[in-house]
């Protein structure tokens, strides 16, 4: 368990687990329950070909025979209370991969059920919690409908997509999702994961990898880079000036390099995307935020990392995320010590407060 610390933290990435599948099925429409029940604990969500060699989860979390973080009380005791979390945003865990299911119809129903499950089983139980709207990205019109439906509940503070996808999210087919989010004043979070699963493209860009360590190193970072570059090149933010995107768990040490590379190419290849009137890095600074977790370890060269990140917009574009209860979780207290002092308030709280805005219901300082 983490030490008690005195922080005011907004945690952008907490993963509730479905501990009781039968209870969850109660949120699925009756005519589809048999199908989902027949899929077992996976609920038909594509499984991982690359699996952590021991466990996806922190081994210290009390489980009581269920997956960790499968009930509000555990999350309260293990995370919210000791870490000084003012607001924690719940992001579906494996459930985020609904967008990679072969059937968009099953995916739409599962997303809807998950949203309702979060509303009744989590948000109603703990006022510090907020949630992300799950939606079936493989059917953007259905996704937009679900976004608009759930946005009426202000405790849902963002739309959630997964890193795994059959094409990068700047593709015009996905536009209805981003339009709906922007219309509702919701940021779109793209959480790494699912690369190479279900209908998603392989991770890494050079064919399927061999090991989990490769997948975890490349898959999440490469999909995040791809979505970032795609959204910028397609002019998504020019189309939707109010849109904000939060990229979660894809790493950040690569960010200056990819933005410098993109800016260089933008100057040289502007006739390819002539609608980009501004440097992509400038647009990214305005519209894109990044979660800190997992903040790369630097072998004592943190100053170099922070200097590089400053060149890419930090600390204004960084938001704290714990990724609780996963094995590569970042403890807020640890992050507090690691970040430059002048960054701490912004990264641990203020940037996320601005990103989510009035939906959080927080009094302005």
């Amino acid at each position: 368990m983490a030490c008690t610390i005195f922080l005011t933290v907004i945690d952008c990435d907490i993963h509730p687990q479905i501990g009781d599948v039968e209870e969850f099925l109660g949120y699925v429409e009756p005519a589809q329950r048999e199908w989902f029940r027949a899929q077992g604990a996976s609920l038909g969500i594509p499984g991982y070909s690359w699996v952590h060699p021991s466990s996806w989860f922190r081994a210290d979390i009390e489980q009581n025979g269920k997956p960790p973080a499968s009930d509000v009380e555990t999350v309260r005791r293990e995370l919210l209370d000791p870490s000084g979390t003012q607001v924690g945003v719940l992001n579906g865990d494996d459930a985020v991969l609904v967008s990679l299911m072969p059937s968009p119809y099953r995916a739409a129903e599962l997303a809807k059920a998950h949203n309702e499950w979060l509303r009744e089983r989590w948000l109603a139980e703990e006022t510090r919690l907020r949630a992300s709207i799950l939606c079936p990205a493989q059917d953007p019109q259905a996704a937009a409908t679900e976004i608009r439906r759930m946005a009426e509940d202000e405790r849902f503070v963002q739309v959630l997509l997964c890193g795994g996808a059959d094409r990068p999210y700047g593709e015009p087919r996905y536009l209805p999702i981003f339009e709906a989010a922007a219309e509702c004043g919701l940021p779109v979070a793209i959480h790494s994961g699912g690369e190479g699963m279900g209908i998603a493209a392989p991770p890494g860009g050079a064919g399927p990898v061999t090991f989990y360590i490769e997948w975890h190193t490349l898959g999440s970072a490469c999909s995040t880079m791809s979505h970032l570059v795609s959204l910028l090149c397609h002019g998504t933010f020019e189309r939707l000036p109010g849109l904000k995107v939060l990229l979660i768990e894809g790493g950040i040490a690569w960010l200056p390099g990819i933005l410098w590379r993109l800016d260089t190419n933008w100057r040289a290849l502007r006739s390819d995307t002539p609608w980009l009137e501004r440097k992509p890095s400038e647009v990214a600074r305005e519209h894109v935020r990044f979660s800190t977790q997992p903040l790369e370890h630097t072998d004592g060269k943190d100053e170099t990392l922070f200097e590089m990140l400053e060149a890419a917009g930090a600390p204004d574009n960084l938001c704290f995320a714990s990724d609780y209860p996963h094995w590569d979780f970042d403890d807020p207290g640890f992050m507090l010590k690691r970040l430059p002092e002048a960054w701490r308030d912004k990264v641990l709280h203020d940037n996320a407060a601005e990103l989510y805005g009035e939906r959080l219901g927080l009094a302005r300082a």
Binding site: H234, G235, T236, A268, W275
Partner: protein
């Protein structure tokens, strides 16, 4: 300032530009919609031979749509950076500008005021 001969009108019409070395620097003249533009033949980005680049109408448009933007540019042959041939300003990098000079045709010759 003096008018210097950098080539023939015939060469300009055939090649799309004329280039000459004047006082230790290369200067070229390109025709842009019938106007003659004198430009230093050295891209401020990487030092490429800018006047060997192409004159094109700069593209613009809403996301997903390609349209002409009603402005002509001189595109460097090395990295494709685009410059306003009238002012020398790089249109994609505010800090970059190439020297430009008045140019005219007279008696079948191309002259640049340097």
């Amino acid at each position: 300032m003096s008018w210097e001969d950098v080539g023939s009108v015939a060469d300009l019409e055939r090649e799309g530009r004329v280039i000459a070395r004047i006082g230790g620097r290369e200067v070229g003249v390109v025709a842009v919609n019938g106007e003659l533009r004198g430009v230093r033949n050295r891209c401020p980005h990487h030092g490429g031979p800018l006047c060997l680049g192409t004159v094109r109408e700069r593209l613009a448009g809403e996301p997903g749509r390609y349209a002409f933007g009603n402005a002509n540019v001189l595109r460097c042959p090395w990295h494709g950076w685009e410059f306003d041939p009238a002012t020398g300003q790089c249109l994609d990098e505010e800090s970059m500008r190439v020297a430009v000079y008045p140019a005219k045709a007279e008696g079948g010759r191309i002259l640049v005021d340097i």
